[in-house]
Point group: C2
Chain length 132, copies 2
């Protein structure tokens, strides 16, 4: 069941998995130069596939990428994802909530809008950075 990844895809996924927070494509490129990466497209192509497989997420509000925090059940098993992004430490928390999905579904339905992909990103400050 687990998707068989190519070498480039594995390298990019590893970089994201081991990172503290989200990484931009060019940051990934720099991290992988020692492994033979030389051009942005090598990263973007791998990212596209990993997104397709549901193994990583793209954070639209900061043009960067994170490994999915539910590595067990890939493939878009989980519905809408909301991200809490700390502007101080960069930490990203992945959240799921049926209530939100329900409300979004109602909103879209009211407009007769056919949803393909939903982005929810909350910018703010995480517990650690607030308590200090």
């Amino acid at each position: 069941m687990a998707q068989q990844l190519t070498r480039n895809q594995s390298l990019v996924l590893d970089a994201l998995t081991h990172a503290e927070g989200p990484l931009s494509a060019y940051t990934i490129l720099d991290k992988l130069r020692d492994h033979g990466f030389r051009a942005p497209l090598q990263v973007y192509r791998a990212l596209d596939k990993l997104l397709e497989f549901g193994m990583i997420h793209r954070l639209e509000s900061m043009n960067s990428f994170v490994a999915c925090s539910h590595p067990d059940h890939h493939h878009h098993d989980h519905g809408v994802t909301a991200f809490a992004i700390c502007e101080d430490c960069g930490q990203v928390t992945e959240m799921h909530d049926a209530g939100i999905e329900e409300r979004l579904s109602v909103l879209a339905g009211r407009e007769h809008f056919k949803t393909e992909k939903t982005t929810i990103e909350i910018r703010g400050h995480c517990q650690n950075c607030t308590s200090g």
Copy 2:
């Protein structure tokens, strides 16, 4: 009460108000060349102010901007905004829903996360483009 805009800010706001859909900063620049605009910063500086005034919104998922559809009550009077973005015709619908705000508030609270700004963008197909 209405914010007094500078010439550049007015021009940018007009461009967005009269546009069919969202515009990128560089598209705005091109539209305003006849009015003396020559550099991206002229656009970005105006956009920053208009965002600050709550007169326009930034669509993170497409790096572009739209005029707020509630021009009456500026200044962030309305809470969280969700955008339905049609991938066929580019039309953007602005939506508000207390239920979503409530759920997001609960989610954030559960993580002890202090929310500064929330982005909700739904990509898909609008009624017109679906029915055809």
